[in-house]
Symmetry: D3
Subunit: 192 residues, 6 copies
Amino acid sequence: MTNNKHVVALDLPIPEMKDLPDDVRKYFEICLEKLGMVPNVLTAYSQNLKQLDGFSRLYNELMMGESELSKLEREMIAVVVSSENKCFYCLVAHGAAVRVLSGDPMLGEHLVMNYRTASLDKRQRAMLDFASHLTSSPATVTEQQVQALRDAGFSDSGIWDLSNVIGFYNMSNRVAIASDMRPNQEYHSQAR
Amino acid sequence: MTNNKHVVALDLPIPEMKDLPDDVRKYFEICLEKLGMVPNVLTAYSQNLKQLDGFSRLYNELMMGESELSKLEREMIAVVVSSENKCFYCLVAHGAAVRVLSGDPMLGEHLVMNYRTASLDKRQRAMLDFASHLTSSPATVTEQQVQALRDAGFSDSGIWDLSNVIGFYNMSNRVAIASDMRPNQEYHSQAR
Amino acid sequence: MTNNKHVVALDLPIPEMKDLPDDVRKYFEICLEKLGMVPNVLTAYSQNLKQLDGFSRLYNELMMGESELSKLEREMIAVVVSSENKCFYCLVAHGAAVRVLSGDPMLGEHLVMNYRTASLDKRQRAMLDFASHLTSSPATVTEQQVQALRDAGFSDSGIWDLSNVIGFYNMSNRVAIASDMRPNQEYHSQAR
Amino acid sequence: MTNNKHVVALDLPIPEMKDLPDDVRKYFEICLEKLGMVPNVLTAYSQNLKQLDGFSRLYNELMMGESELSKLEREMIAVVVSSENKCFYCLVAHGAAVRVLSGDPMLGEHLVMNYRTASLDKRQRAMLDFASHLTSSPATVTEQQVQALRDAGFSDSGIWDLSNVIGFYNMSNRVAIASDMRPNQEYHSQAR
Amino acid sequence: MTNNKHVVALDLPIPEMKDLPDDVRKYFEICLEKLGMVPNVLTAYSQNLKQLDGFSRLYNELMMGESELSKLEREMIAVVVSSENKCFYCLVAHGAAVRVLSGDPMLGEHLVMNYRTASLDKRQRAMLDFASHLTSSPATVTEQQVQALRDAGFSDSGIWDLSNVIGFYNMSNRVAIASDMRPNQEYHSQAR
Amino acid sequence: MTNNKHVVALDLPIPEMKDLPDDVRKYFEICLEKLGMVPNVLTAYSQNLKQLDGFSRLYNELMMGESELSKLEREMIAVVVSSENKCFYCLVAHGAAVRVLSGDPMLGEHLVMNYRTASLDKRQRAMLDFASHLTSSPATVTEQQVQALRDAGFSDSGIWDLSNVIGFYNMSNRVAIASDMRPNQEYHSQAR
């Protein structure tokens, strides 16, 4: 097993890379090749390969599948949700992704700190207002907020995808916080 | 496509059952056989089969896979998270599951309305206190709350699973709320 | 004295029915005849007959006296206030009353879980928005919220009655929560 | 009818004193004699004599009946509840009562502004902590808070009375706020 | 050193008046002459003369310098900020200032208790709404709230001054609360 | 006047550097020399030289004067307060200062995102818990929280200084948010 202490504060049976089944090892090797690291969230989930399988498939489809939302927009949502929930792991990891995908380091900082201070067009502002509202006060979200998204140009399919991305980080934020998950060192210096 | 209006308020390209790929149709037929219905959450996700695949695999592993948490306990957590977030769909569906699995209709009502009024042993009370705290105020969860779970008898693997179940309903609550998802009629009368 | 444990968690000098003064015993017998039970809230208050007298008179006038609000509407308000305050006793008792008076079991569930998901006309939606706001954030209620009620068709007398019903359950919710009052078993199965 | 504008902002059919039934007129005359005024809350309720009857009986028993709580303590609770809810009418009226009954003008100011700054013995501090908690966050009050009251010397009957007084002002605060009730001028200068 | 107990609950090296440097003693003597007292906030800060110097200069300029805001308006803002934060010291001291400067004792009471109940023109209502919002929820203040002030007649310089006064009391409230600062007796009876 | 747009969103009469009085120009030239820039907060305050004078003196004494708190600790407090209030300007400027003074870039990120995830000794954890509490919920701070600081090793003078630093950023956060103050570009890359 790897040294958990670099990954999570919980004592979990995380296997060493060499002990992983072929398909998972291959997945992790692709991460290493493309990203220069295996994101700690995947390492943590590898303590239960079926959880890893479901989590990865959902993550990959929501963040990289076909959608009216651009990949950058999905990362922007990830950061705003994580800022509401104050999730250190996700702010570091997805803040870096916003810097990389946007080529605008300050945009990442704005979204980490307070998305309301960023220069955004009407569509992205509506998108992030919804992310903030659905994260911090889900009980009060109604048709009115959904209509505001339509007015800003989102289709109903786009709103479904948006809600799923918001939901996904409300899940992973809580897993990361409860396990005190630590981000890989590599994120910090990306695209500063 | 099915009549969306019974499923969600968003206009989504939900296919008719006969148009689903074989494996998905088979999955839905098993639902029909075992539960007497296809849960609307699955029907809704079928508008994007890759999302459905990831969501179902994660759901099935977290709710029915091996764990130190019993199936009833996982449903209890689902209800308490959904009560914090006031998610109508999940309260109806998982409230029914608690009634069915516990054989105690009033337990379902307590958890829907205010879990603090239920008669619970120390372990389950700690579990639901954690579910409530991690749902409503994730930013303030620290080692102290995790230690309280260990003190109540949870292993670190159990705490990981618990956090994942809490996380999962914080995701699906938001998707259900944003899409105004409607529960199948069948849930209401189950195990009253 | 009756066995308090079925009524409240506080140790109170609740008299047995046979030891009650004639007028109170008669009142309780009418309850038994009409409702099939003496509601536990009345049993609890019978530990102090003057409190019972004031409470009952106010309750009977606010919930059954002449008013622009229908009896069902008053029960709807009771449930929405109790849902904000998460009062188990009142949600069980008045959730049942909504099911009985409306003949619509799902309406009771919507109001218990999140009234914003119920199908309501504009007047009832305004009424319940006001109930929610005045319950959860009284300090910020101003002329603006009162005017919204007038715009939805309420007269000033109706607004006074509405505020009194909202106020009444903000009182009884807190008495029931502090004393851990338990609802009579009969409510649970009514009008499911 | 009296000039409503001095009493509430709602347009209510408040009768002139001479048109009141004998028993109510007598009650109001006693107020005039003892207090130098008819409190506006009673004038407002006189628009519906049955509501006035229930409200007055409950008020008189809770605030002046036999109890382990002193009359000053009940007024202290009224002020702390009203401070949480920011009810202008009740803060003026019951702030004056605290000044009068305690002979300590600054105590009234402390309780209006922030009871945590007042010099209180352990019992009264526990009493007001409970009033604050049950007012602002009823859903989280459990046996633990009730036990803290027992530990501070309250009997279960005292806790019942305390909860009723807290509940009563959570009712009347909301009625006063919604109707924009104005306090009689006389309160302001009492016992400064 | 003076008897701290009348000033703050912290044990601070507060010098006696006779031991102060000439310019500070002169400043305090002017206070005594004009106000009949040295405000305890100044006495407290005199434990560090450089802090006193910075604090006094900023206070004097913000509260008494040239501005589109009248002196009364600045005191009104001080009270509303302090009411949000429930700062006893500042509510007593600046509540008195509002009574003195306005000649309207009830205005002071309204602002201490709930500014929304005061009779205010549109400009002052906008000013106090902004003070309340920027105090209780700074993260959500955006261009929209600033524009509302412009619409109510404030220039951008006035908005800057307004924000500084709001900021200043958010500072001094926290210093007063943390040190349990006690107001001079003289304030209580001023302009009742 | 300088181009306000790089400094604040309000239209303020900010003088050009050459038009400043000698002592202020000298102060700004020292900033340029030592920091490589004039912090925009000082440029903004230069629109009113008396405000600038009071603000600068208080800032310099609180952040650089004699104190039991180290300079790094004061910057850590600045970041934690600003994170509670989500002030973009102060998070950028003081996040950089924490990176520079600590030589630990990740510490800055932890404090910006959620100080509870940082590795801190008991004293610094108590200090930041107090900063968070006094910022987000000043009304509930009492002797109990002050005693926790003493137990963690702070003297009463240290607690006074700590409260002043917390207060100061609760002031400047609000001024920066209301004026939409923009941080100098230089901060972003410092000590990454």
